[in-house]
Symmetry: C2
């Protein structure tokens, strides 16, 4: 059986858990406390030298990490990756956009507010200001893309929707006012209406 | 003919240019001055709403953006994307690692030093300190991975090598001392020895 190393509040981990559930792939879950260094132990670094969750252990003992790479591996051959070459590249385009523009803003601010608020860092206010501006710009781009669209690529539910949903649906936890993005809110409902949808802290 | 909107010193743009050249795909190049706002004009935002290079225009007028998505589109069916499902996911894994860990450290520091050194930002020293630490950690992970390896995945030259090479080979321009990473230096030579290799500022 597959084994997923994860941390339940993680949007990156959630992408993989949601996908596994929607593909009806059974898996074992081991949750790790990322804030206490559980992903930086010599033992865990043998699984993922980059010391992060999610990390997937295959049946044969090999490991795969980086949420979007794990997702691609799991979804190959399913309708969540379009067969058409251009559509497939567009799915990757929105996954890259998520990991470069959205996650470093929404995810980092959320983590700070939710889990590290007592951590002393004099430069945080300035950092947050920059990240928030970047997040607002990315949400504008996403909201415009979703005008009159049911899903991100060709109106078909794909890995792109799962990847982008991961942190966008918890953006209010990073104090982003989502009322400014009505197309995103409609799209979120579409994602949540998909069969076998589960919330972020779901575990098997 | 394909048309690439790009900026010659960009590592992200270079990945696409190098790939196009190695795949022997002819393309037209339009270079843009990213520092003067040329990618934020209403006209360019119609091509890429995220306002960044590289952006690829296909023969039929459609656009694709995000360097790694463009690369996937161009290399489909070539030996640069392994057919094996696990190896393919590993290629994506290292591409994601590049875009999340390496580029935001090496690429951002390099851009600041090389092109924006006169730009006033009181928080830059603190930001650079954090980015440099992140870059050093990522280079450690990469150096360990490349021990006894010719290339990143299964010792076969792939999109992963092109993607990671983009900014790593210009890390000295961001004041990273690469002598500390002998495996990376050996691997760089392997990448540079590939047929049809061209330098970062190459243009057709």
């Amino acid at each position: 059986m597959l084994k997923l190393y994860d941390y339940l509040p993680s949007g990156n981990g959630y992408k993989v858990r949601l996908l596994l559930h929607q593909l009806e792939i059974p898996f074992e879950l081991e949750t790790l406390d990322i804030w206490s260094g559980a992903t930086r132990t010599p033992e865990f670094l043998k699984k993922n030298p980059n010391g992060r969750i999610p990390t997937l252990q295959l049946e044969d003992g090999r490991y795969l990490w980086e949420s979007h790479a794990i997702m691609w591996y799991l979804a190959e051959g399913s309708a969540l990756i379009p067969a058409n070459k251009f559509a497939k590249a567009q799915v990757l385009q929105w996954m890259c956009f998520e990991q470069y523009e959205l996650e470093p803003a929404l995810g980092v601010i959320r983590a700070r507010k939710k889990f590290k608020s007592s951590h002393q860092d004099p430069s945080w206010p300035e950092t947050e200001k920059k990240l928030r501006l970047r997040g607002l710009q990315a949400l504008e781009v996403l909201n415009a893309q979703l005008k009159d669209c049911v899903f991100l690529v060709n109106n078909c539910y794909s890995l792109a929707d799962i990847a982008v949903f991961g942190y966008v649906h918890v953006a209010p936890e990073a104090d982003f006012d989502m009322a400014a993005y009505p197309n995103i809110l409609t799209w979120q409902k579409n994602v949540q209406s998909q069969p076998l949808h589960v919330p972020i802290t779901w575990r098997p």
